[in-house]
Symmetry: C2
Subunit: 649 residues, 2 copies
Amino acid sequence: MASTVNKTAHPFSKANLDDLLLKRFFYAPAFEIYGGVAGLYDYGPPGSALQANIIAEWRKHFIIEESMLELDTTIMTPEKVFVASGHVAKFADWMVKDSKTGEVLRADHLVKNVLNDRLDRDKLARNPVADPKKKAKKETPLDDALVVEYESILNRLDEYSGVQLGELIKKHAIVNPATGNDVSDPVEFNLMFASNIGPVGNNTGYLRPETAQGHFVNFQRLLEFNNGSLPFASAQVGRSFRNEISPRNGLLRVREFTMAEIEHYVDPADKSHPRFKDVADVKLRFLRKEIQSAGKNDIIETTIGDAVATGMVANETLGYFVARIFQFLTKIGVDPARLRFRQHMDNEMAHYACDCWDAEILVSSGWVECVGCADRSAFDLTQHMKATGRSLIAQKPVDPPRFIHKTEPEWNRKELGLTFKKAATSVQKAVEALPTEELEKIRAATENEPYKLTLENGDVVDVTPKFVKIVDKTIKQTVEDYTPNVIEPSFGLGRILYALLEHSYWARESDINRGVLSLPPLVAPIKVLIVPISSQEAFKPLIHEIATKLRRAGIFSRVDASSVTIGKRYSRNDELGTPFGITVDFASVANGTVTLRERDTTDQRIGKVDEVIAVVADLVEGVCTWDEACGRLPAYSGVQAVDGAAPTS
Amino acid sequence: MASTVNKTAHPFSKANLDDLLLKRFFYAPAFEIYGGVAGLYDYGPPGSALQANIIAEWRKHFIIEESMLELDTTIMTPEKVFVASGHVAKFADWMVKDSKTGEVLRADHLVKNVLNDRLDRDKLARNPVADPKKKAKKETPLDDALVVEYESILNRLDEYSGVQLGELIKKHAIVNPATGNDVSDPVEFNLMFASNIGPVGNNTGYLRPETAQGHFVNFQRLLEFNNGSLPFASAQVGRSFRNEISPRNGLLRVREFTMAEIEHYVDPADKSHPRFKDVADVKLRFLRKEIQSAGKNDIIETTIGDAVATGMVANETLGYFVARIFQFLTKIGVDPARLRFRQHMDNEMAHYACDCWDAEILVSSGWVECVGCADRSAFDLTQHMKATGRSLIAQKPVDPPRFIHKTEPEWNRKELGLTFKKAATSVQKAVEALPTEELEKIRAATENEPYKLTLENGDVVDVTPKFVKIVDKTIKQTVEDYTPNVIEPSFGLGRILYALLEHSYWARESDINRGVLSLPPLVAPIKVLIVPISSQEAFKPLIHEIATKLRRAGIFSRVDASSVTIGKRYSRNDELGTPFGITVDFASVANGTVTLRERDTTDQRIGKVDEVIAVVADLVEGVCTWDEACGRLPAYSGVQAVDGAAPTS
């Protein structure tokens, strides 16, 4: 619904959308009355409801549909967990300081912004008529070689270490563009918020930067809950924190955000997925890492079935989730034409991942990573196993059973004790540590030609068949241990929410200031606006009846009985993305009919209260389109049409 | 459902319940594989689902039912917000350190535990036959005067300052009971987790200890969203943090927890509530502050209507929420006989509250505060207004309009300028600051007898009617400003969840180790267990059909196809609190009938798949009782009854 409407209207105005979102309190800078805090946002009533509806659909689409095991783990995390996961060492960005003002900037962003700006000005200098307004300012073109060098730097920006970023800054005389001052050498800054747990001052805790570790540390309990069988997935929706150096771009880069993460545990030897066939025909737009490495961004459009068959996407399970992510995003209203899956280049992969595809959504500021779908391999479980000594493994049957041949010492403990007394244990230990070929030599030894065994303390003793026999054993192996691999789809809900708002926004043909959010009924904060045309007492019972019936049908409605005109009330609710309006007028009170207004077309239909509610219920549940609804309810052409775009205006 | 069953079974065993909750992963100590962190718990699949269901019902019961404005605000909060709210200064506990081990203890808890222990031993000494097992250890009774003193201290423990706690500890020779060592003087410890926002090191942030401030700082936007009219409420479900000194008691005292808070904004001059009549007849158990101050705990059982009428509960709005809290808690399964509303004593009230009633639930360790219902008056909005200079007020009509008489100076600016030149502004300012009686003197002044006016700089000048006339004005006032009061119901979801689990738990008559959680279907983590009696392929289509139909009816089910006996599978699911089981046997495959098992009674009924699903849907929605269900489905007495308690066993 969103995309088609969006395209036919006025050119997109981010300023108008931002105004609307603030005015209608979708979200606002947190602590604004205190001057705000960069990177912190509060969601107001429509933003909260939109987010809650997105989460509810996410739960249905992923958790319930696939019987995932939901978790709710703590945000506060002791340091050793993030030492093991690698976040204490590696979850950092490079920052530089303005030498005079002390302002802190992210080093890679500084380089990127300054070089991009120089390239823009170069283009202007080479083609000065492109924008006549900017002609006044004379630009000098860059050397051709420098242009190539800048472009190459920008393409590989994620590769540079802090030292290299510092060298780039010096070599290309990059200064803080806001002040013209030099900047310091890059310093590493860990992005986790630190605190102290408890009243004694040496127990560092971090606010989690992702929910994932909360899943991994509970792996053994989850496996047990799933009766020991794999594959299965855990899932969690919750708050995470990243202490960004210089957050910007509204909801796109924030310090506190809600994530929805799935950790799907799978046997590394078999990453097939039983339901892959259900999605094999889903067509997606892929941007491969090889294409990006070549400095290009050509899209390959193909089915996920093909993508897995040709090896572009590594395995069925990863592919299954990529397709399911696509289905989820488009179901809630993201425009499929502005959605692509971009593979991470080898140099940009997170320290824990071995392959990763991001669902990126195009918004006015460019492509934004909204969902990461990474194969974390066995990295995390292995790290936590090493750090704790606890077993985070699964078992699988070996079928048919495997027979393992072993050569082993068999002890005559009495003779061993008699011969070696206190040294007996050392002898036993030394023999058991020997490789098979040495054991064969013991087997061949005799009383006269004993095997010369070196103990741990350096002593050499004689080993004879008298107290140890070397025997061959066959062991039948029916199960084997393995460390599961983890496929992780990880959703940044704030980014998705913002992208969805951009894709849903447009302005009425008649007036660029009459914004509309064409949110699908599935996620719209309020489904139905009830508009009484008068505040007379006689209207109240009917309003109450409609509100109660809608509530019983599970439909969230709101009554707008404010004193402004109906046209203004409709406008306000177009801005809130409310898909349907029920108007109660004097005819309603007299004969029980109400009108039903559709937000995008401003069409109005008429019917009895119960008929209209039944149609609305079907519309909200998505089992009926507006065209079908028009077949069930006649058009309304009454006197009180008040909306600018309504048919009778 | 819970309470009656609970009482008829074995004596309650907390150890058995704790085992069950851990084994079935309702919740577990967080980071257990790393040795755990005191006061942090992770919820596993059944705990998460139970919590999600409680929250969903809370949203319906409060937010949707009363059109509250939902918010989702940040946890990370800049320091100045909590300076204004008083938390930086006052949100603290007193702690003492063991002089040798350095162990940290909460001072009030130490005094309470040691004195309670002494009183217990005193009782034993006075009545040594009470517990013959403990007879061996000889106890000396305390002086009668000391008993009275201890009891008085315990009753007023919340009153003592840190210094006073230190004096008590010295006077009564209180030591750390775990080590016998002396403890240090009490030191204040703020319970908020602190961190630093951004890369520059002087921007302290705290993790919120309640969600409330996130509502208050957004008050003006919320009011605007509500078209400027009061009363209205904002609501929020979210994580909060308290860095407890020594957390204990499982979910009852933790460092990170999920809260659900409502802030209801109301005109302080009118705290009536339009829906109070709907709840006036709800009967509740009250424990008044006067009774507690007298060292007693007698309950007054009366309707909320009476409680407000007699002034025991301060106003209708507070009373309305108290009754709604009761309705919510009992609806989700809390035993009303173990629920009371306790009024805070004046000395224990939080720094922001002017009246407070706690919903307390009785669990095995005593009465636990689970919901606070406080009248925060205008405290918070006033504080934030003072700190920011921003207007956090509402307006109300004055009807009939009020006429205000004012005596004011009216200036002849030309004359004023000619007479005083540069000093004119100072003269004007000084006159406008005068009280009415002085203005009257100016009115009476003449050219010959001018009014002697003292300016700010000390100069005295002559004021005459030539350049200022004193006039009487009448101003018509149709609206007036006021700072709303806030009534706050605040829910600790973890405590409610734990209390609910205790109230729901019992063990089958036949075996104390066969635990059952009689959770109401409304909140049960899984509503239906589907149990195939065989793993044959022939069963799969029917299992799939049942699961799909249940999902479409909005009912969360799980298939348990594990290889253990049906009896064991039922036991496991009794422990998970799953109210219904659908068994698929060979007869099902042949003729489409399935059996339906009810958890508490272990009754089994039989019917066609669609009939059984329709009955289950009505049971889960609460529109049908099990007795009524038995009228719709005949009893089952087939061959495969496998459950210990089933009728045919």
